[in-house]
Subunit: 337 residues, 2 copies
DNA sequence: CTGAAAGCGCTTACAG
DNA sequence: CTGAAAGCGCTTACAG
């Protein structure tokens, strides 16, 4: 229905080639002719057909952002950063749930993809990919690095988090997480397990099953039931901030004070965490820098597929706020964050 | 680089047509042959080229979600709903900042688009569009409805919000908003202005200029400066929840109690609003139902472009929570929300 | 400086 | 049931 280059060419009485060259700003067209073509294109409401162009150039100028759990607020922040980055680029962003279409025959029609989380092994990809992964400390060491990768190192910050809790005499510390983050290779869970064992304390796991997308509601249900059956831990080590903030509501409803009765610690340090009372202690990554780095890696590889594989690491950092600080003094240092 | 239908056809020694028919599950291929083709496709790692298919069918199976201010948490919730909806459909979702590419020559290569906010007049679209708009109460009545539309009616709820504040003897009520929501045709601002005038109270506007994407930081800066220069209003009518929650932090930092010294009221009722202390009073819309309705309108029109234009309205509803309730009793009714 | 033509990977009438 | 072919709207060598 929209006008094509052929329509423009016919209207003026020139060849389609000339129209294409004029529209794309290539040499080989006289200035007068270029003007005329541009005006006619405008008059006809010409919009280039991206599909046709993509078919011949092999480039769609679309990038897939593949998120494993689109449900999380952190995923939202990541998306925002990419949307912002993409706005200044010639690319468009396609948001894909990597649990979804990838498993239904692969993604196609993109110049590259950024996977937040590991690339599913059955995702046949014929395009450059950057993975943003957690540090699994050699757990998957046998597997070759198939893609450019950004590694998020949770190890040190997680250990620091546990030490911080243990130092304040918290004994009953529960790890609260969705199932996929409660594996042995998961750095947060490892740090938790290791330090609990070292302190001679028993592990306590609270699993949040979230089939649908509203994770906070799942947290409410699960924790309410758990606390009434098992009582309250001294501290909750939550695998992300959404879970932590979900826990806030439950604790508050059940009349439990944070942090003095139950401390809460999250991961990802989403924007919102600072706005809650008490402000949430969390593990922070330079999210924007990570996104920009991933973008740079991806576009560099699209330009030059022969580049050697690259890996870059980012270290998480424990940001102590009020939600885990029982001594008022100790918290003042970080309150500004 | 990926295998094509031609590759499969050559490998087996049949025509490309047969491969296409087999792959698409169309009649006209013997079962044995279909099996063989499917297996070969699998072995070769065949992924259909969406561009080529789109070029001939005219369908890309991509839908653009165009958001005006990608910055808002509400936009995130809308996106989540669409991602969820799209997962169960044959479509993919492209997230577009309608301030962006639309102004750079139009969107192309999508089967349709959902605009959250009005479609820019210079966005030449050759595909079905659904607009999700605020009720401007006939302000743009002269303009024909160009697209299927969903109208969000803020009018009643905004008036209810103002009455709620005024009933509690709040006199100095400020309207806090980004500039584009502080126009005369904007229903929230209209209700605010009308009821303030009726009560014989002066209008007080606080404009949040947010050039970049981190709106809450802008709120912090603007309000901190404003309050120290002009003192504190009795209540803040914020045009969205992000602004309201941003205001929380400033008020808290400056030692101002919510709601007893300054009440705060938001719009959109994002998930997070319930988790803050005090819980935020806000204007709620059935967000998921709205998204599903938009989706249904769009897909129906894609199937049948000749359909008469449709319009559907949704009414906002004031959800009173603690952030505006000075009398403890009165709030109990709604606290469950 | 310009025209006529091939081809990207598909779908789909059109013949056999 | 199957093959040979046209064509979707572009880009880009290839001749003039």
């Amino acid at each position: 229905m929209p006008a094509t280059q052929k329509d423009i060419a016919q209207k003026i009485g020139v060849s389609q080639r000339l129209v294409s060259y004029a529209l794309n700003g290539q040499a080989g067209v006289s200035d007068a002719m270029r003007q005329r073509i541009l005006q006619t294109a405008d008059a006809l409401g010409y919009v280039p057909n991206r599909m046709a162009r993509a078919l011949v150039t092999g480039r769609t100028h679309q990038i897939a952002l593949c998120l494993q759990r689109l449900t999380s607020t952190f995923a939202h922040e990541v998306t925002q950063h990419f949307v912002k980055i993409v706005m200044d680029s010639p690319y468009q962003l396609m948001t894909v749930n990597s649990m979804g279409p990838v498993h239904q025959g692969g993604i196609s029609g993109v110049d590259g993809a950024i996977f937040f989380g590991s690339v599913p092994p059955d995702a046949v990809t014929h395009f450059p990919v950057v993975e943003i992964l957690n540090d699994t400390r050699g757990f998957h060491a046998g597997e070759p690095i198939r893609h450019d990768a950004i590694i998020l190192i949770f190890e040190d910050a997680s250990r620091a988090a546990m030490k911080h809790l243990l130092e304040q005499q918290m004994r009953r510390i529960a790890f609260v997480s969705i199932p996929c983050l409660m594996e042995l290779y998961e750095p947060r869970y490892r740090a938790y397990g290791t330090l609990m064992a070292a302190a001679g304390l028993p592990v306590e796991k609270i699993v949040i099953e979230s089939r649908d997308l509203l994770i906070r509601d799942c947290v409410h249900q699960t924790l309410e039931k758990y606390f009434s059956e098992h009582g309250f831990p001294d501290a909750l080590f939550c695998s992300n901030d959404d879970i932590a903030i979900g826990a806030y509501r439950v604790l508050r409803r059940m009349g439990r004070r944070i942090p003095h009765e139950t401390a809460v610690l999250g991961c990802d340090d989403i924007e919102e965490s600072k706005d809650h009372v008490p402000a949430l202690t969390s593990i922070q990554f330079p999210c924007e820098a990570i996104c920009r780095c991933a973008w740079e890696m991806l576009t560099a590889r699209i330009e030059n597929p022969a580049l050697p594989p690259r890996t870059k690491s980012f270290k998480g950092r424990l940001v102590v706020r009020e939600s885990t600080t029982r001594k008022r003094i100790a918290s003042l240092v970080n309150l500004k964050n």
